[in-house]
């Protein structure tokens, strides 16, 4: 791993590691280690701290308030955040909405929305998925209809993570029925307190509330709510996905959680019991393979080489690895993972319950963001084309 980094990059890592250690309050690290779904306050507190250092939007360009780092520096920074058990950076605001707005938004939109994202004072959710349009965008049914200088939105969004505490939604809606199904979509900013919006909690397989259904009934938006050109929403969304090839790999989170799991087994049993060694060795190997593959993609990007279907490859490998880790955790933790309410031993710290929740919720990682089946088809098409 180290051999992939230049001396400057290694020095950079030392710097951010030390600074993160100095900035991160212990209660936030503790919370991150033991909770799957992050409440707004935890993310906001950490975002504000990072913001005060100018690091809240680590992959934004300097002109919009980012630190102007290279892809490899971002990778290093993300890995150090995970290593320190820092709360997650808001996926929707920082990763998705910010770049959408600074790439395609109007000057007014940039001025209005970017500061709140940077500071962590405003939270966002995404309104892409729908109950009937999983990975098949042609089935997207939410419409935005022009009415004078307003847009009237009707429809239902599904799987809206953080929708219950977000301030805004970035909405993908159909604005043109006359063109091919993928073509007639547009992006809008929707204030979550607009009349006509109902947020309904969805309890997921882990028994927790982190996603929502959002109903939009005659929601009225100003003309200024439109991002970029009308009917170009899917083009923008795809542009962003291509810009974020490596995020779905979830390498830093997986690496950190596995290090902790392994340390836990070794602390309890002195070593990895022989029966689990093959699984452990395979996960270590897959983690290494994934880390380096991510770095290769970043290097390709930096050097202007075509990374091919690597976004899909990272999604497939990364999601399978996440599931492999949680499967091992469940087996290793045994009763501790399923007896959610019992003080199993004096030192029961909820680690089992935490893993059980994570394991169950993790069934989604091979389904969301384009199912792995769809990713595999993309990979094969790229191979056959090449």
């Amino acid at each position: 791993m180290d051999d992939f980094f230049t001396a400057e990059e290694r020095a950079f890592r030392e710097t951010v590691r030390a600074e993160i250690a100095a900035m991160l309050p212990e209660h936030l690290a503790r919370h991150t280690r033991s909770h799957l779904h992050m409440p707004r306050e935890v993310m906001a507190e950490w975002n504000a701290i990072l913001h005060s250092r100018g690091w809240s939007a680590h992959h934004w360009p300097k002109e919009y308030g980012g630190p102007g780092w290279t892809p490899i520096q971002r990778f290093i920074f993300e890995s150090e955040l995970a290593r320190a058990d820092a709360p997650p950076i808001s996926v929707f605001g920082i990763y998705l909405v910010g770049p959408t707005i600074f790439s395609f938004g109007s000057p007014e939109q940039k001025e209005r929305y970017l500061p709140g994202i940077l500071s962590g004072e405003e939270f966002w959710c995404q309104g892409y998925s729908e109950p009937d349009a999983g990975s098949d965008l042609a089935r997207l049914r939410t419409t935005a209809r022009r009415s004078g200088d307003k847009w009237i939105v009707n429809g239902q969004k599904a799987w809206t993570s953080e929708g219950h505490f977000a301030d805004h939604m970035i909405l993908l809606a159909r604005t043109n029925m006359e063109v091919k199904p993928q073509a007639g979509l547009s992006l809008f900013v929707v204030p979550m307190d607009a009349p006509g919006i109902t947020v309904q909690p969805v309890i997921t397989i882990d028994g927790a509330h982190s996603v929502n259904s959002v109903f939009l009934d005659d929601v009225e938006l100003d003309a200024t709510a439109l991002i970029g050109e009308v009917d170009q929403g899917w083009t923008y969304a795809k542009f962003l996905l291509n810009n974020e090839r490596t995020n779905n790999a979830q390498i830093h989170k997986s690496r950190r959680e596995f290090d902790l799991l392994r340390a836990r087994i070794e602390a309890e049993k002195g070593e990895i019991p022989v029966a689990w060694r093959e699984q452990v060795a395979r996960i270590e190997t897959d983690l290494a393979a994934l880390e380096i593959t991510v770095l290769r993609v970043l290097a390709d990007e930096t050097d202007g080489r075509d990374p091919g279907a690597k976004a899909s490859i990272l999604k497939v490998i990364g999601s399978q690895l996440q599931q492999a880790i949680s499967e091992l955790a469940m087996e290793v933790l045994g009763e501790e993972a399923v007896a959610t309410g019992l003080p199993l031993a004096n030192d029961n710290d909820g680690y089992g319950a935490y893993w059980a929740e994570k394991h169950l919720f993790r069934r989604v990682v091979t389904i969301y963001a384009g199912t792995n089946e769809i990713q595999k088809t993309i990979i094969a098409k790229t191979v056959f084309k090449g």
Partner: protein
């Protein structure tokens, strides 16, 4: 001797009525005070008991078939000990036989406190100390069965709830069922009934634990069947990219793979029930086969059904995810997959080694 499920008309009738009964209770919570009452009225506790003793006289296949239906509906009441263990023991232990009227009336419920971290040691002073594994349903037991000590000095004991030194720690399980861990702290066997002693006690304890695993696997089979059927239906209905999911080869082949797994589990389950009906040496192997499959392959198979179903399967309201949660919980209980692995591969087979 059975060579198929639902071999007789009685089997089919029994299954139909159990299925209806279970379906009506599908959403009942475990702690609903009178939930057991309905089971009692439907005759579940005494199902395996002789008709002379007021039971229904069902054989083990039939009792397991009823448990399959309980599993299919994800009933949170854990009935396996009362249905499988108690009647079997009543045949041989007068003290248990004497409790059968209470069982039939729903006043007595049993828990078998299985092998835990420590097991139960039996001191020369007749006092028992130790901690059991988690036992589903034990939180509502009125009577606890356990093996104290080992080998020649072992005792199979029956202790009533409230016995000094006996503590039942209830614990909600991940899947909404409840369980308990049973602690004995220098509890005096003088305050209990010693049902069997020595090797006989050990052998019976093994048999009772096998029945418990058999009950769990029966419920697991029902849950797996429900998962498979609802998924096979769903993928034929759900449209994506202008065609039903079922028309995609990836979905087709997943359905085929999982169906193979289901048939394998049915076979292993049938063999286990047959072995337990007949008794004898193949019992531990047959139980370990079914248990290993239950605690690993079945969970993985249902995970694959979730994958082809897609997002809806990971919502609480959709039953498939709850089935997965149930099976994942099952897998972690009773020592997980490692115990059957040790039974099947840890002990060399006594076989003539005839090579070339």
């Amino acid at each position: 001797m059975r060579r198929s499920h639902d071999q007789s008309e009685t089997d089919s009738l029994l299954r139909a009525s159990a299925r209806e009964f279970a379906r009506e209770r599908e959403e009942t919570r475990a702690d609903a005070a009178d939930s057991w009452r309905a089971f009692v009225e439907a005759g579940w506790p005494g199902m395996g008991l002789d008709e002379d003793s007021g039971g229904l006289g069902a054989d083990l296949h039939q009792c397991c078939l009823v448990l399959q239906e309980a599993g299919r509906a994800l009933l949170v009441e854990t009935a396996a000990t009362d249905i499988l263990v108690a009647p079997r023991l009543a045949q041989r232990a007068p003290a248990i036989a004497a409790l059968m009227p209470d069982l039939l009336e729903g006043r007595a419920r049993f828990a078998l406190a299985g092998q835990g971290d420590t097991g139960f040691s039996l001191g020369a002073n007749g006092r028992v100390t130790g901690r059991s594994a988690l036992v589903p349903g034990a939180d509502r037991a009125t009577h606890v069965l356990f093996l104290a000590g080992s080998g020649e000095s072992a005792s199979l004991c029956l202790a009533e709830r409230g016995t000094a030194g006996l503590r039942i720690h209830p614990a909600p399980l991940l899947d909404g069922r409840t369980a308990a861990r049973i602690d004995l702290d220098a509890a005096d066997t003088g305050n209990m009934t010693v049902l069997f002693a020595g090797r006989e006690a050990c052998d019976i304890a093994v048999e009772l634990e096998a029945l418990l695993l058999c009950g769990a696997a029966s419920e697991g089979l029902g849950a797996f069947e429900a998962a498979f059927e609802m998924t096979a239906d769903y993928v034929q209905t759900r449209q994506q990219f202008r065609q039903p999911l079922a028309s995609f080869q990836a979905v087709e082949h997943t359905i085929a793979d999982v169906y193979c797994e289901l048939e394998k589990f049915r076979s292993l389950h049938m063999a286990m029930v047959s072995a337990l009906s007949a008794g004898g040496t193949p019992v531990p192997q047959a139980v370990a086969h079914a248990r290993l499959f239950h605690a690993s392959d079945v969970v993985r198979a249902v995970g694959r059904l979730i994958q082809i179903t897609g997002g809806i399967a990971v919502t609480e309201e959709y039953k498939l995810g709850r089935i997965y949660r149930r099976l994942q919980t099952d897998a972690a209980l009773f020592g997980g997959p490692r115990r059957p692995i040790e039974i099947l591969a840890g002990t060399p087979m006594a076989k003539p080694a005839s090579f070339h």
